[in-house]
């Protein structure tokens, strides 16, 4: 007999997200469809598992997490930069539904970044945890060794058209002019017996 675990995530959009003041805070901004209209990344990893790993990475370094949802754009650079601008520490993480992730800092140009993980099919749960960890370390003002960038030149031929379809679906959830909101989140772990 085996056991399998599944993580349920509840995400509830709250009131408008304001600028934080806690210097330990790292803001994670999710894209419009994340955990709502879409629930899995391009390689079918549940959004709940992705978010839980990033948060764990932040918190194991003593960081404080706040999750917000951006409605205005599906563009990762701007999602990440918004997170950084609203973050008490000035460090933010942006994530799209297909799994692409960025670590941003508020004083950088939007199209620049601290670390970018552009190839969503290659990001493992372990990498998501490392991304959270590094963001918390940047927030503490430390010199940080970047998470190694994984590169698979054959990800494009296999996934680019699918990525475009996921992005089109993401874009259908954009609400122009709607400010970002704080998101209450909770995880429920359920255990199932399997034969």
């Amino acid at each position: 007999m085996n056991y399998s675990y599944s993580i349920e995530m509840q995400m509830d959009d709250q009131s408008r997200a304001a600028k934080g003041s806690d210097p330990k805070e790292v803001v994670i901004a999710v894209s419009p469809a994340f955990g709502k209209a879409l629930s899995k990344t391009i390689v079918s990893v549940e959004h709940s598992e992705v978010l839980r790993e990033i948060i764990s990475g932040i918190e194991e370094q003593g960081g404080v997490t706040r999750v917000i949802r951006n409605f205005e754009t599906a563009d990762l650079a701007f999602i990440g930069h918004l997170a950084a601008k609203l973050s008490g520490s000035g460090i933010g993480i942006g994530i799209q539904s297909r799994g692409t992730t960025i670590i941003h800092q508020r004083d950088l140009d939007p199209l620049s970044n601290l670390e970018l993980f552009p190839q969503s099919p290659l990001i493992t749960l372990e990498t998501y945890r490392d991304i959270g960890r590094n963001a918390a370390l940047y927030a503490r003002g430390e010199n940080v060794d970047p998470v190694p960038v994984v590169n698979d030149q054959m990800a494009r031929p296999r996934y680019q058209a699918i990525a475009a379809i996921l992005h089109l679906k993401e874009a259908q959830e954009i609400v122009r002019g709607k400010p970002a909101v704080n998101v209450d989140y909770s995880f429920t772990i359920s255990e199932e017996e399997t034969v």
Partner: protein, 561 residues
């Protein structure tokens, strides 16, 4: 319940086919409502033009009051109102025939195209099959001599390896070299590695560092790069605005490069608007034609296109690779330099990627690849090119098989080892002179014989990043680099770097399709204009060049037996 596939008896032939590399590629049916269609969408406009008092008041069925910013830019700065009515009244099929006809000169076609609207160009291109497009591209390319560009990057941004790879790429014949970063803050080191590595082998090679636009411009202004290419433009207003940009802001950026005497071109390509969910239901080719015309209106000398990083999107739909050839051709029809893609992985199939590449290699373009990965694709930080360093012998042999000049030359292993050593050694001296983290003899040895970054000892990344950041902070220039090398007796490479700075003052290499030869002479569409009018005209390989291409190291001499 879905039937289990194992329950169904399978054809053994289908099982063989399923295991073929091509079946790892992604293919999708057309989705025209979202612009997931290559060359023609039911939502594409029909060609039309209306001119009042020398001003375009209607463009492709849209009145001026309804123009988006691209319509306005193209109407005001690209289309020649003096000839537009006449040219728009020419049948599209007749224009298509002139493109292919060897008896119609390049300049005659250029004069016609000036008066056409985006929808009309799309209609013309839809008349052509791929062989006709290649015929047209052979004639319409701006520079007579075709050339090639490469990528030089590595996963760890190792500057010693990067300089050695740049030196090898220079020896192999690439006239332009492009790098980018894994970690953004390494950018100044990567620019330095390409500059020093390429100039170690020959003067005149152009180098660039593809980055976020402000940093890319800064490095060019410092003289650490000698051209730029990653200035992206898009075919719809919404995608432009997503990038916080307009045709005017991109034009301003272009003039910033021009004001510093640095070559630059824009970048665009089919599929980018679909990828960014902003295609507005238009075909990929129609939107790309708008980009090409925007580039022309902005006054830049050239464009990198051929889908580029979005190649997986046109490649997934019918006639997509044809659309990519069509966009390269369209660029040349506006008298612009074309750096014609082939620079990104789009297929697992060796047959498919060769077939695609031949569309640009056989007719010849200003840069057949933009670029060819001079390093293994595992080290390619543009996410992989259509061909990489392990395909170099295939490419050289295709040049020889077809008697086609793809810009590369066969090289000896001993020469490669020598120039790689020289480049790594020069970097060691430069780092020492500038007070950067030391480059060890062990690193030089590894870089000399390396294939990839796996072969390199690790460097202290944080120390490197501090030094790299100091390049920007202290404003270390190309002149500082040349002086540092001259101080240590490296006069030849110092002089070559200094010569690249002199080119910036002379400005000749701002002309269309410019490259600089080993004698520091600019070769552009001005002094090397393509004059193809059929057999016996245009670019023909010299005897010397053919001897070079013929003599691959693998060939056996009959006298050996």
């Amino acid at each position: 319940m879905k039937p289990s596939p194992t329950a169904v008896r399978r054809s053994k032939r289908f099982q063989v086919l399923e295991d073929r590399p091509v079946n790892k590629d992604g293919f999708v049916h057309e989705w025209p409502e979202q612009g997931f269609v290559a060359m023609s969408s039911p939502n594409d406009p029909s060609p039309s033009i209306e001119i009042q008092d020398g001003r375009i008041v209607e463009l492709d069925g849209k009145l001026r009051k309804d123009f988006d910013m691209l319509d306005q830019f193209i109407a005001d700065y690209t289309i020649d109102v003096a000839t537009a009515n006449e040219m728009m009244n020419t049948e599209s099929v007749d224009i298509a025939r002139k493109l292919v006809d060897i008896n119609v000169s390049r300049s005659e076609v250029l004069a016609i195209v000036k008066g056409l609207t985006p929808a009309k160009i799309v209609e013309v291109l839809n008349q052509l099959n791929v062989v006709e497009m290649m015929m047209a591209l052979q004639k319409m390319r701006a520079r007579k001599k075709p050339s090639n560009q490469c990528h030089v990057t590595n996963v760890r941004d190792n500057p010693v390896l990067m300089a050695a790879d740049a030196a090898e790429a220079a020896l192999r014949g690439f006239d332009e070299q492009e790098t980018t970063v894994g970690v953004v803050r390494y950018a100044p080191f990567n620019a330095l590695a390409l500059l020093v590595g390429s100039q170690t082998v020959r003067g005149g090679i152009l180098t660039q560092d593809a980055l976020e636009e402000a940093t890319e411009l800064r490095l060019a202004m410092l003289g650490l790069t000698t051209y730029a290419e990653t200035i992206s433009i898009y075919g719809t207003e919404s995608v432009f605005k997503d990038g916080d940009d307009t045709p005017w802001s991109k034009s301003f950026l272009a003039s910033a490069y021009a004001s510093r005497g640095s070559k630059m071109r824009f970048t665009s390509g089919t599929g980018s608007e679909v990828q960014m969910a902003g295609a507005e239901g238009k075909s990929m080719l129609y939107l790309e034609i708008r980009c090409i015309m925007m580039a022309k209106g902005a006054g830049v000398q050239g464009l990198q296109n051929g889908s580029i990083s979005c190649i997986g999107i046109p490649a997934a739909v019918p006639s997509g690779i044809r659309a990519v050839l069509a966009e390269n051709l369209a660029t040349t029809m506006f008298d612009l330099e074309v750096a014609s893609g082939n620079d990104q992985t789009f297929s697992h199939s060796e047959i498919r990627r060769s077939a695609k590449m031949l569309c640009q290699m056989l007719p010849g373009t200003d840069f057949v690849f933009s670029g060819y990965s001079a390093v293994p694709n595992s080290d390619n930080m543009f996410a992989g090119s259509n061909m990489d360093s392990s395909d170099l012998d295939d490419f050289l042999i295709i040049q020889r098989d077809m008697m086609v000049d793809g810009g590369l030359r066969p090289v000896e292993e001993s020469e490669v080892i020598e120039v790689r050593y020289q480049a790594a050694k020069t970097m060691q001296v430069l780092f020492d002179e500038l007070g950067f983290p030391a480059i060890t003899e062990e690193e030089i040895d590894a870089a000399t014989y390396a294939n990839s970054s796996d072969d390199m000892p690790k460097r202290n990344v944080m120390e490197d990043l501090k030094a790299a950041e100091s390049v920007l902070k202290e404003g270390i220039t190309g002149l500082d680099v040349a002086l540092a090398l001259a101080n240590r007796g490296y006069h030849q490479v110092a002089e070559r770097i200094f010569n690249m700075l002199k080119q910036r003052v002379a400005g000749d290499y701002l002309h269309t399709s410019a490259i600089i030869d080993e004698n520091n002479i600019v070769r552009s569409a001005v002094n090397n204009e393509n004059d193809y009018t059929g057999p016996g005209t245009g670019y023909r390989m010299s005897e010397e060049r053919w001897e070079e291409i013929k003599n691959i190291r693998q060939a056996i001499s009959p006298s050996e037996y």
